[in-house]
């Protein structure tokens, strides 16, 4: 077994606290005698709303782990100093990969008295949860929620720390343009293969609009459902279109099958350039399908691997036998952002949290982001980076200032 879920005793305890909070409040209502247990040291409750079961449970579980690492690190470093060393206390809730459950769990988080919460991996879940949280003036820091609908609703409690699909696409295209230009523009045609959910579809639309402007013709756009059982056909279509570059955008299972099919059908291209691709930034894919994975490039959420905190996080993840995925990094960074806002707000009050987040200029997270700047809930300081699979590692290759390796573009012909 490679990555058996560790025993998250801390979060288990907090789950019980949540139950207690619920029970206590019921008791309050019933008996009318408010007896809230006070903790010895001041604490600030942070909600972690992730899909821990259901279709998205892998991402959700990883994100929960990342948030927990961050909370442990912050507490170990003395908690929130402006609040007398207050400790962060996670309150974990399972969104079950279902929007209505995500919304209902927000009620519980609010009841449990969280000051802010992070979540919840998929846009559909995040849309539902932030809508519910708006009722409580409760801020939600989005770890991943790329659909632009997230920040188009005018909700004051939405803070998407990571880049959305628009930003990811434009950065990916800029980076691609640079890479292509540096190599003497070998890439002139592209095929897009994307999952048919919110993120893949939105992305494909954008790419079709913008690639031609860069001198790259889109010769094939193929959408597929999740799950898709067989990629032979898609590989064949891609092969027939003879693109210089393939842009896959899907979840890890499909990404794995697609990469295998490309290799099996001997599809030769100059580049596999994925945007928010589920597999290309997943070390598991690299380990298990190493041949198929070589030189695959991805523009995705990724941390700045040179920061000491990043390295400490990587070490912790390895100790916990967890694969280092972007879900962990992003959740970690979101907690960092929250801790910074708490320092400035000097209070766990929800209203003040929203103010503090809205005025944040934080730039100390593990992510390679500029100063935080929320506009309509969208962090304009956020940016994705390019990674590339090299050997058995995922290297950051672009932008230059964070790079751990030189990009190889186009990729060398395969044997």
């Amino acid at each position: 077994m490679t990555s058996r879920d560790e025993n998250w005793t801390t979060s288990a305890i907090s789950r019980r606290n949540l139950l207690k909070a619920g029970a206590a409040s019921t008791a309050v209502g019933l008996i009318g005698a408010p007896t809230v247990l006070r903790a010895q040291t001041p604490t600030v409750k942070i909600g972690i709303l992730e899909p821990l079961t259901g279709a998205l449970s892998y991402n959700g579980t990883q994100a929960r782990a990342g948030a927990q690492f961050a909370i442990d690190a912050i507490n170990a470093a003395g908690g929130i100093k402006s609040m007398g060393g207050a400790k962060l206390e996670p309150v974990v809730a399972d969104a079950q990969s279902r929007p209505e459950v995500a919304a209902a769990e927000v009620d519980k988080l609010a009841q449990a008295g969280v000051s802010v919460f992070i979540g919840c991996q998929a846009s559909a879940l995040g849309l539902a949860s932030s809508q519910a949280a708006a009722r409580y003036n409760l801020a939600q820091v989005f770890d991943v929620g790329t659909a632009e609908q997230v920040v188009e609703r005018g909700l004051k409690n939405v803070f998407r720390f990571t880049p959305g699909v628009n930003k990811c696409t434009s950065t990916a295209l800029e980076n691609l343009k640079t890479l292509n230009a540096n190599a003497g523009n070998p890439v002139k045609t592209a095929a897009i293969v994307h999952e048919d959910g919110p993120f893949g579809s939105g992305l494909a639309k954008l790419l079709n609009e913008r690639l031609p402007g860069m001198g790259i013709q889109v010769v094939e756009t193929i959408s597929h459902p999740t799950p898709q059982r067989d990629f032979t056909n898609i590989a064949l279509r891609v092969k027939a279109a003879k693109p210089d570059m393939i842009i896959p955008s899907n979840y890890i299972n499909e990404y794995t099958l697609f990469a295998m099919a490309l290799r099996q059908q001997r599809v030769e291209t100059k580049a596999i350039y994925s945007i928010l691709g589920g597999g290309a930034s997943n070390i598991k894919f690299v380990r298990e399908q190493n041949d198929a994975a070589q030189y695959v490039m991805d523009c995705n959420h990724w941390y700045d691997p040179r920061k000491p905190e990043s390295q400490a996080l990587a070490k912790k993840a390895a100790e916990a036998k967890l694969d280092m995925t972007y879900d962990i990094m992003v959740a970690y960074a979101c907690i960092q952002l929250i801790a910074d806002s708490l320092e400035r707000a000097k209070s766990g009050d929800r209203e003040k949290m929203i103010e503090a987040l809205a005025s944040s200029t934080y730039s100390g997270s593990i992510m390679p982001y500029g100063p935080t700047k929320f506009v309509n809930g969208n962090n304009e300081g956020a940016q994705p980076v390019n990674t590339q699979i090299r050997g058995d590692k995922i290297e950051l290759v672009f932008p230059k200032e964070y790079a751990t390796a030189e990009a190889v573009f186009p990729m060398p012909p395969r044997g």
Binding site: D107, L127, Q131, Q149, G197, P225
Partner: protein, 329 residues
């Protein structure tokens, strides 16, 4: 109609007391939880008409639920129709879809597991269509802008949303109660019990079954509308995914299929079970659903007639069964 037994009085009394208590002690957690359960209850009531009373076990009620949700969303967002007008149109659309599915299936004599599978397939077809065309938002789904207000059929307060959901459940149960006492209901039950005999007694079984589907579709569509107006977002997976179809049938089957209170009792019980399981094995996601599944198995094993069936067997001790039989005219 038979008289309710002591057990039934206690069970229904407890359910009503719980539902009313939420007004006295409004807790957002419990309100939110119950709103979800009530919306599913409306869908369960729909399923119960065809599945419980009519004996036509559908595995694709998501097709009707999703149509209700999608049509309201499309009318509001794409055509700017007011939700008060969009809702009845969506309900009509769901009824129409139900009628078409029913007419096709019953015209060709599908029943039992064949009917279950064909309804499942219809829901899948709709799911694929919804994720393929831009009118339904393709894969991105449809987000309805949040504009709280009675005129927009959106409620800022939980209590109002709850009242709406409760009213819909009450309405659904009234329709069911009416049906139980009507000729249509008698015919539907007769078909469930023995279709050949029903035909011989002058019942147009095809028409009756299709009508049941239409009625069920309208109610399921109502559930879809309620879902959309509550969560303001729908995509193909939420609307037409298999999980809604399963939710639709679990409640009545656990509560007591073909009974007036079965969908409400069963759905509430299952949602409570789900929550308790979550709290009981907190911190170990997955185990809660294992527990849920195991309890489900135990209910199936020991309560073959559901919770309502259990309640029916609980009588006042001094009243001998024979005596009560006589009284129950």
């Amino acid at each position: 109609m038979k008289h309710a037994t002591l057990g039934e009085w206690v069970l229904y009394g407890a359910v009503c007391a719980y539902l009313l208590a939420l007004y006295a002690l409004p807790s957002d957690v419990w309100l939110g939880f119950t709103i979800n359960a009530l919306i599913v209850t409306v869908l369960s009531i729909a399923w119960n008409i065809t599945g419980g009373y009519g004996g036509q076990m559908s595995f694709g009620h998501a097709a009707l639920f999703g149509t209700g949700a999608f049509v309201t969303a499309i009318l509001q967002v794409r055509l700017g129709v007011n939700p008060w007008l969009a809702a009845p149109l969506a309900i009509a659309a769901a009824a129409l879809v139900a009628g078409v599915i029913g007419a096709l299936s019953f015209r060709y004599g599908l029943k039992g597991s064949y009917f279950a599978l064909v309804t499942l397939a219809f829901a899948e077809v709709l799911r694929i269509l919804a994720s393929s065309f831009s009118i339904t938002g393709g894969g991105q789904g449809i987000l309805v802008p949040y504009k709280a207000g009675v005129e927009n059929l959106q409620f800022a307060s939980r209590v109002s949303t709850y009242t709406l959901a409760l009213a819909l459940v009450a309405l659904g149960m009234l329709v069911t109660a009416w049906m139980q006492r009507s000729r249509f209901g008698a015919y539907l039950i007769a078909i469930r019990e023995n279709e050949e005999a029903a035909k011989a007694l002058g019942i147009d079984t095809f028409r009756t079954k299709v009508l049941a589907m239409v009625l069920s579709g309208a109610i399921a569509g109502t559930a879809g509308v309620a879902y959309l107006q509550t969560f303001l977002f729908v995509d193909s997976q939420i609307a037409y995914g298999a999980s809604m179809s399963v939710e639709a049938l679990l409640g009545p089957m656990i509560g007591g299929s073909g009974t007036l209170w079965g969908p409400l009792v069963g759905t509430l019980a299952l949602h409570l079970l789900g929550e308790s399981a979550k709290e009981l094995v907190s911190g170990a996601p997955g185990l809660n659903l294992v527990l849920y599944g195991v309890v489900l198995l135990v209910i199936l094993r020991y309560l073959p007639d559901g919770l309502v069936g259990l309640a029916r067997r609980v009588r006042l001790p001094r009243r001998a069964p024979a005596a009560s039989m006589k009284e129950a005219r």
